[in-house]
Amino acid sequence: MSPADVVPSSPHPVTPAIALRGLTKTFGETVAVRDLDLTVPTGALYGVIGPNGAGKTTAIRMMLSILMPDRGTLNVLGRASALEAKDRIGYLPEERGLYKKMRVGAFLTYMAQLKGDDDPDLPRRVRQWLERVGLAEVERKRCEELSKGMQQKVQFLAAVIHRPDLLVLDEPFSGLDPVNQRLIRELVRDEHRRGATVLFSTHVMVHAEQLCDHVVMIHRGAKVLDDEIANIRARFDPRSLLFEPFNPGADVQVLAALPGVSRLNRDGGSWELMLSPGADPAAVIGAVAARLTPARIEVRRPTLEDVFVNIVTADAGDSEAAALRAAVRDPAGVESEVRS
């Protein structure tokens, strides 16, 4: 599928939190973002995915008016520029930092005040947030005294402390261990439940699968996919079964002759049974189980990684597909939690 084939879906009828039209940004000869159209409905949880260097951060910086686009228009929270709605936006940049010498409580208070939060109850809210992320004891500590993981949690709190209507998170999970990834994921979900529109970017597809309703894929500055996760799964269903025989020495090739099976591929220690057009997966599973006792048999579901690689390597060779696949996997390993 080419970028031209992408048709943005807009299932949310309410006013969009973000609306970008034809946004383009170049740095010298490099086109970082090319004709980006994007609509993020109010209250949605969107993931912007793509490998490193795809243009995600540049697109986000333009959305927030940190960078000015060369071309195109944008509307954020009903304003023509995010500058006019900064106080309603929470932002966790990819390149994030803290004032090293500042105390944690003072830093969070300062960031909230910069976002126009004059709530007299702010110090109590700061303490509550710190308690919630397990950092109650560091309120009076200087930021430089915190571990890297603690600093990342404080940075996240700085983005949400003022209860933003729009939360933009650029690679929020990078550098976090699995436990803290889970914590941040829960906090993002909480913010979403509170009513905030959430848009986050990641180059690790599994993160998007675990968290989002809707994903936007960017590759080489251009949008290549913009759809609900469920729709994507339906559109890119590989129509195959994953099978592992109970007896490793069993003759699996006999399954190729079963009705509804068009082809059999070896996939590491497993086998992939490609289904014929119109075949019922449940019937084929029954037939397979009757023929060979399975250790594992399931309908294969497409991952975003598969979809992404499928889209961008339609005309590429295997080596390029392998390189892209490596670029969108989490190097630290992601929890294998399946989102219900």
């Binding site: 910086r61 940190i66 900064k86 932002y91 390149e95 994030r96 004032y99 940075q155």
Partner: protein, 466 residues
């Protein structure tokens, strides 16, 4: 506006609240304060009273009486009063603390006199036998001081050479004398004895040559007078302090404050960028708000430094009862030109700080600023000597530099015409605006630029295209 003030407040507290600032900025005024206020009070106690014997071995028999007369306490007191008077006359009128003038009680004069010149020593001349053994005569000098002998101990031994007054046969030169003193003797006593020996020996030589020492003294005396400066507004004593020190002090004060706050601005900007905190800030405020807040915060730091040093200077002037020598209008000018110079230099520093990733990279880009800040140091003397030269006038209208030059000129005895001052303010304001414009352009682009540091030409390109 509110966000800008929040940034300014944090910037001020993050700079002025650090131990480094408190020690670095306050230590100098405190040390100066100690020197100006505490040290003189400690010195008021003066050296311990000196009382004891001056032993003389005078084979000529001509010198002892002269030294005895010279060291009489009343003679020493008279000479010291004369020295004090000369000292006072050498000072500008405003700095003359005493002198028995109107409203100054004699007791205060005496106190000031004692403070300035110390207690008059009580020295008793003891003539030893001309043939006395010098080594034996020296021995009491090394004896341990004893309370029982206080006031009668030998402090000094003077051994006059036999040919000190009359030349030895076949010699062109006169002889001299040897001086032996007790350890830790006040050096002012040694000076008194040396001076006394000079007078006594020369007097003896003159008498023996048939000359009248008083007449020779009168012939060789020419009173040194003070010059008077004649200007269109009248005639005054030439005041060297006012002519050179005051303009320099005000210019140095201006330069120090601007340089200090500008440097802090550069440092905090580079820190925020290298800490990667800048993008978080940009999600909350616009680049202009960020830059203006930071410049405002450091402006207050600069004003604090200025106020500290200026306050110290004023206290020093009050302490010396000479506050009247500072025209209050100069303080107003100082504030105005500080504002103009700081904004011009500070905005530039902020722009450089936003463009680099670490302090080392800022060095090359700082060169134009440092050249501007070096010029006042280099040009201080020629401008002070001729504050209304064409050179000084032209420099007054160079943006940023003009503030420092105008301070030198305004504090001089012949300040520039009002139109020049006003024009310098207008030009300075224009320069400050241009600097802010340049900084805003560079700031917006530079803040999110990482990697290879830009050259100065790149900064100019950013400003043109930004």
């Amino acid at each position: 506006m509110k966000k800008m003030l929040l940034i300014a407040k944090r910037e001020f507290l993050a700079t002025a609240g650090t131990r480094a600032f408190i020690i670095g900025t306050l230590a100098t005024p405190v040390m100066m304060g100690v020197l100006i206020f505490v040290m003189p009070r400690m010195l008021q106690k003066g050296p311990p009273k000196v009382e004891g014997q001056v032993a003389m071995i005078d084979p000529t028999g001509q010198v002892t009486s002269g030294l005895q007369a010279y060291l009489r306490p009343e003679e020493i007191a008279k000479r010291r009063q004369g020295d004090f008077r000369k000292m006072q006359e050498a000072m500008p009128p405003a700095l003359r603390t005493t002198g028995g003038g109107a409203g100054v009680p004699q007791a205060a004069v005496d106190q000031a006199f004692r403070t300035a010149l110390g207690e008059v020593p009580r020295l008793q001349i003891v003539s030893l036998d001309p043939g006395a053994d010098v080594e034996a005569a020296k021995r009491p000098l090394a004896a341990v001081p004893s309370k029982d002998l206080a006031g009668t101990e030998r402090l000094v031994l003077v051994v006059v050479h036999p040919d000190a007054v009359v030349r030895a046969a076949g010699k062109d030169q006169f002889g001299s004398y040897d001086l032996f003193v007790r350890g830790k003797l006040d050096d002012r006593v040694v000076t008194e004895i040396n001076d006394g020996m000079h007078d006594a020996v020369v007097g003896a030589r003159m008498r023996l040559s048939g000359l009248d020492p008083k007449q020779i003294d009168a012939i060789t005396q020419v009173e040194r007078v003070k010059s008077r400066t004649v200007t269109a507004s009248g005639e005054n004593d030439t005041n060297r302090f006012m002519n050179q020190i005051m303009p320099f002090a005000l210019m140095a004060l201006l330069l120090t404050s601007v340089l200090m706050s500008g440097s802090y601005l550069l440092t905090t900007m580079v820190e925020e960028k290298s800490n990667r905190v800048v993008e978080v800030l940009l999600s909350a405020v616009s680049p202009m708000e960020l830059m203006a807040g930071k410049i405002l915060g450091q402006l207050v730091v600069g004003l604090l430094v200025l106020a500290l040093y200026l306050g110290l200077g004023l206290m020093a002037l009050i302490s010396f009862a000479s506050l009247g020598m500072l025209d209050p209008l100069l303080i107003v000018y100082l504030l105005v030109f500080f504002l103009l110079a700081y904004v011009s230099v500070g905005a530039f520093m902020a722009a450089i700080g936003s463009a680099v990733n670490e302090m080392r990279e800022a060095q090359g880009l700082m060169m134009p600023v440092m050249i501007v800040l070096m010029v006042p140091w280099l040009m201080w003397m020629p401008i002070s000597r001729d504050p209304n030269s064409l050179f000084a006038i032209v420099l007054s209208f160079v943006p940023a530099l003009g503030s420092f030059v105008m301070m030198l000129r305004l504090a001089s005895p012949t300040p520039p015409a009002l139109w020049q001052t006003l024009l310098a303010v207008v030009v300075g304001a224009g320069g400050a605006y241009a600097s802010m414009w340049f900084a805003a352009k560079v700031f917006r682009i530079g803040l999110l630029m990482y990697g290879k540091p830009p050259s100065f030409a790149t900064l100019v390109r950013w400003a043109r295209t930004g």
